[in-house]
């Protein structure tokens, strides 16, 4: 019991670390003039969703069921009654699940890089979490939630987190439009080491995300943990192999992307498949996601950092493959999929859950996006976007290597400051 609590609290901290990791994974992929905005969208999600979660989000997701659609938002408002109680089912579980809400919103940010007003982003994030994430978490994970009752399996968030965020990303991009100059102007990543570092932090945190979802330091946690290694390694190799064959070179961005694609795909399935299943899910996700990230050029939507291609597609791969590769050999709470003698029934349930969340999140994101656009304008002016959103929205620039741009403290009497500098110079000689 105490061991379970210790693992849950540790996992919650690991999952929080994923969001700064994601910030760097995304931040390295944007241009140097908009990296701070990308980091801020992720950190902003931590601040905003963290507050909403403890005030009413947890209650909406895990409060007493109302019609299979959401929890009673007023029941556990402000975590009333949980403080000082059992941590495994109370405060620790609230913290762990809160980290999921945070990263799900942050995931969407990658689709709207370089162009969304910061206030508009926070407004969208708050509304989407309230109207989509909190209820969908209830559908999938809470007793009484309709997908939970249907029997569709989502161990750590393939449906609730990745399909959900990926579909929202697509909806928001459709409302917001493409970046100035896309796809004609080159928009290559400005710092691939950040991307690799971010992918590493994500992977590390993901062990808490997946194995922590056992909510216990038990056999199931072990299965989820090792599959989080197995599938991810296979996905990296799959992505790199495809690149080597198609483009001629195995790239570092491909390795980082393959890692994330594998993590996404194994998330729903990590406690339900054996080693062969995990290898298959990883390899398939690596190849399919590597192909899927090119869809945006064909259909003309500027999903800037491929949230759709990696998270929506990877989430679908993992969620649906449970229907083929699930086996009760590793976990009695799981199911036998089509390849393990279980018939097609589970596949059908998985598909219903996945596509219902996809459709709801997509439509809701379009509607919320339109509302946010009407209130705030949605995106910065083209002039500010081209000059760099960091300066327009945050009055900062990320890098100052040479100091050649003439910075001086605008709030200080500079005649005094420069006088001091002269004096200092004089005292040296």
């Amino acid at each position: 019991m105490q061991g379970d609590t210790a693992w849950l609290l540790t996992s919650a901290a690991l999952v929080l670390l994923m969001t700064p990791g994601l910030a760097f994974f995304y931040g390295g992929m944007v241009r140097s003039k908009s990296v701070l905005n990308m980091l801020m969208m992720c950190f902003g999600a931590i601040g905003l969703i963290g507050v909403l979660w403890v005030v009413y989000g947890y209650s909406m997701a895990f409060g007493s069921d109302v019609g299979g659609l959401l929890g009673n938002p007023f029941e556990i408002m402000g975590l009333s009654g949980l403080m000082g109680g059992n941590a495994l089912e109370g405060t620790g579980f609230v913290a762990f699940q809160g980290m999921f809400a945070i990263i799900t919103v942050a995931l969407i940010a990658g689709a709207v890089a370089d162009r969304m007003k910061f206030g508009a982003w926070l407004l969208f994030g708050g509304l989407w979490a309230t109207l989509v994430y909190f209820p969908v978490a209830h559908w999938v994970w809470a007793e009484g939630g309709w997908i939970f009752d249907l029997g569709a399996l989502d161990f750590a968030g393939g449906t609730a987190v990745h399909i959900n965020a990926g579909a929202a990303a697509l909806g928001l991009v459709l409302v917001l439009g493409k970046r100035a100059g896309w796809p004609k102007e080159p928009m290559k990543p400005h710092n691939l080491p950040y991307v690799m570092l971010g992918a590493g932090l994500l992977w590390f945190g993901w062990f808490g995300f997946n194995a922590g979802s056992a909510l216990s330091a038990n056999e199931t946690a072990g299965v989820a943990f090792i599959n989080t290694l197995t599938a991810t390694c296979a996905a990296m190799l799959g992505w790199l192999l495809l690149e080597r064959l198609r483009d001629g070179k195995a790239t570092s961005l491909g390795a980082a992307s393959g890692v994330v694609a594998g993590l996404v795909a194994i998330t729903p399935a990590c406690a339900f498949v054996d080693t062969w299943g995990a290898l298959a899910i990883g390899a398939i996700a690596g190849v399919v996601c590597a192909l899927a990230v090119s869809l945006k050029y064909r259909f003309g939507y500027d999903d800037s950092l491929d949230v759709v291609g990696v998270h929506l597609v990877g989430g679908l791969v993992g969620t649906l493959l449970i229907g083929f590769l699930g086996t009760t050999n590793v976990n009695a709470d799981g199911v036998d999929g089509l390849f393990y003698g279980g018939g097609a029934e589970q596949l059908g349930k998985q598909a219903i859950g996945a596509f219902a969340v996809l459709a709801y999140s997509l439509i809701a994101a379009v509607v919320i996006g339109l509302i946010v656009k009407a209130i705030t304008g949605g995106r910065v002016s083209t002039e500010d976007e081209v000059a760099g959103i960091d300066e327009a929205e945050h009055a900062e620039s990320a890098y100052d290597f040479a100091g050649g741009r003439g910075g001086r403290p605008a709030s200080v009497d500079t005649s005094v400051a420069s006088g001091n500098a002269k004096k200092l110079e004089g005292s040296k000689s």
């Binding site: 796809p183 290559k188 483009d247 070179k249 790239t251 992307s257 990230v293 050029y297």
Partner: protein, 112 residues
């Protein structure tokens, strides 16, 4: 006095610097620049999207010298920067009216 400007492959910098040092050249200015001549750029691929990188990274070396040393400096730079492959760079010479050393106010050849 002349200003000698050389655009060279970055990896040749050290050889150029030591070659000029042996001639007694006491200073130079080096900048990282991008451009293209007959050597075209290259292609990079990010998540399957190809980017043509038109400009090639080069170094620009600037040396001011008195007229008597111009040919020696040019020879030192050219021999150090030469690989025989496309993209070795260019060297050109421009006249300089005068040079002032900021610290002392010396002018002309004394300031070199």
């Amino acid at each position: 006095m002349k200003l000698i400007t050389a655009i060279v492959k970055p990896f040749t910098l050290d050889d150029i610097r030591s070659g000029l040092e042996q001639l007694g050249v006491l200073g130079m200015t080096v900048s990282e620049v991008q451009g293209y001549g007959r050597q075209k750029g290259h292609t990079e691929v990010y998540r399957g999207a190809e980017y043509a990188v038109d400009f090639v990274a080069k170094l620009k070396i600037e040396v001011v010298t008195d007229d008597a040393n111009v040919d020696k400096v040019i020879d030192a730079i050219v021999s150090a920067a030469h690989t025989g492959k496309i993209g070795d760079g260019k060297v050109w010479v421009t006249p300089v009216d005068t040079v002032i050393r900021v610290r002392t106010g010396e002018r002309g050849a004394d300031a070199l």
